[in-house]
């Protein structure tokens, strides 16, 4: 009796020429084996012919969509890989630009910050001016820095000066006195408008800081704020006129 696996391989066309000759020689003398070959061919043919072909168009569409996603991810990865240095430089520039922008934006002075800065000056921070008039004038001018404004010594007395650095601004605080009492002058560098102040005349603005009326004016990138307890904005404006003389 012939090996059945040989008959299967014969039907499948998977025999070497020697094996095929052997099987065919055997088949010519074995009717049972011949019938088996017919059955095998019939079964094989039925399976290949009758197996239901599955419609798979929707599944294929979803495969294509998945391939699209893969391609998209590859493109992004390729772009990032290729231009990584460029992206780093761009990112660095964005950081620099952001910093510069922040500086630009922060040129606006918030009255609350001035108030907080003024409140934060301890008694030990105040510097007293020299007693000699010439030295005192130079010292005051030096304290004013590039503000190019002058305090008239015959109208106002400079009692003390303190300095602070806050949120990108130099703040110089002057404790002044006239015949009615003390005033405070704050010179803020790199400053623009004072937040929360309203216009008063052509050059001055008025507002309230630390519950004191305050007038401010600006020129040359500096903001000057003059405030005093118990004084009206109009009074402060008159005093400001004496300070504003260059």
């Amino acid at each position: 009796m012939i090996d059945l696996e040989l008959l299967h391989a014969y039907v499948d066309g998977e025999l070497s020429s020697d094996e095929r000759q052997f099987v065919e020689s055997h088949l010519s003398n074995d009717a049972v084996a011949q019938a088996e070959v017919v059955r095998l061919r019939s079964l094989k043919s039925a399976v290949s012919r009758m197996a239901v072909a599955e419609p798979a168009a929707p599944e294929w569409s979803r495969c294509v969509a998945r391939l699209d996603e893969i391609d998209k991810a590859r493109r992004v990865e390729g772009f990032v890989g290729k231009y990584a240095w460029g992206l780093c430089v761009l990112f660095f520039c964005a950081i620099l630009a952001g910093g510069a922008l922040k500086r630009g934006v922060s040129s606006k002075v918030h009255s609350g910050e001035v108030a907080a800065a003024a409140a934060g000056i301890g008694s030990g921070s105040w510097l007293r001016p020299p007693s000699k008039p010439d030295e005192k004038r130079d010292w005051v001018n030096e304290s004013l820095g590039a503000a190019t404004y002058a305090v008239q010594p015959d109208a106002l007395q400079v009692l003390a000066v303190a300095k602070q650095w806050r949120d990108g601004h130099d703040l110089t605080f002057f404790r002044l006195a006239d015949d009615r009492g003390e005033l405070q002058l704050v010179v803020v560098s790199d400053a623009g408008d004072i937040d929360g102040f309203e216009r008063m005349g052509s050059e001055l603005e008025a507002g309230v800081i630390n519950e004191m009326n305050c007038v401010s004016w600006a020129a040359g990138g500096y903001s000057m704020l003059l405030m005093a307890p118990g004084r009206s904005a109009a009074e402060l404006a008159q005093i400001a006129a004496t300070i504003r003389v260059q």
């Binding site: 998977e14 019939s42 079964l43 009758m50 798979a56 391609d71």
Partner: protein, 187 residues
């Protein structure tokens, strides 16, 4: 480079679309679940696309079926139910030959429709079924089946013979039940 990738995608898609019904059909006959078959076929397509540069250009269908079969064996088979190869003795069963003259199988196979063949195929233990469907439905050679399933050609021969014998038994039972053949004519 971009054009090269686009051409590669188009070449892959063109070939994959042609063989996808075979890939999906094989996945369906292995998993017997449309949802799992779609996952399996889709994963096979993705794997093939990612490895397309390494395809040797010989037989794309056999290569895709090899991927889907390997994926199934490695990832999906453990979750499957139904008759497994381990429940049967792969070497032990002797397949009888039919008698000379009367060949009821021919009547049976002519009467059977696709659904019955699919049903009978589903009852064949998995490794045997895989060999039968790769050979008789997908037309792969023994060597290609051996590559796809990771077994020697001798095992492929054996599994095919066993698988067809079991398939024939199930079809015979069906034919007797439906009255296409008489019990005395059956093998």
């Amino acid at each position: 480079m971009l054009w090269g990738k686009r051409d590669s995608r188009e070449a892959f898609e063109r070939q994959a679309e042609k063989v996808f019904p075979s890939v999906f059909g094989t996945a369906l006959r292995l998993t017997r679940s449309r949802e799992e078959a779609e996952d399996l076929a889709q994963e096979a397509v993705v794997r093939a696309y990612e490895a397309f540069e390494r395809f040797d250009g010989s037989n794309f269908k056999a290569w895709m079926l090899r991927i889907v079969t390997n994926l199934y064996i490695n990832k999906y088979r453990q979750r499957q139910r139904g008759p497994q190869l381990s429940s049967l003795d792969e070497e032990g069963m002797v397949e009888p030959m039919g008698l000379e003259g009367e060949i009821p199988d021919r009547v049976l196979f002519d009467e059977a429709i696709g659904a019955e063949i699919e049903e009978a195929l589903a009852k064949v233990p998995e490794d045997f079924r895989l060999a039968v469907l790769l050979s008789d439905i997908e037309g792969l050679s023994y060597q290609e089946i051996a590559d796809a399933t990771g077994v020697p050609i001798g095992t492929v021969r054996s599994r095919l013979a066993r698988g067809r014998a079991i398939l024939r038994r199930h079809l015979t039972s069906y034919a007797m039940k439906e009255g296409y053949i008489r019990a005395e004519d059956a093998l």
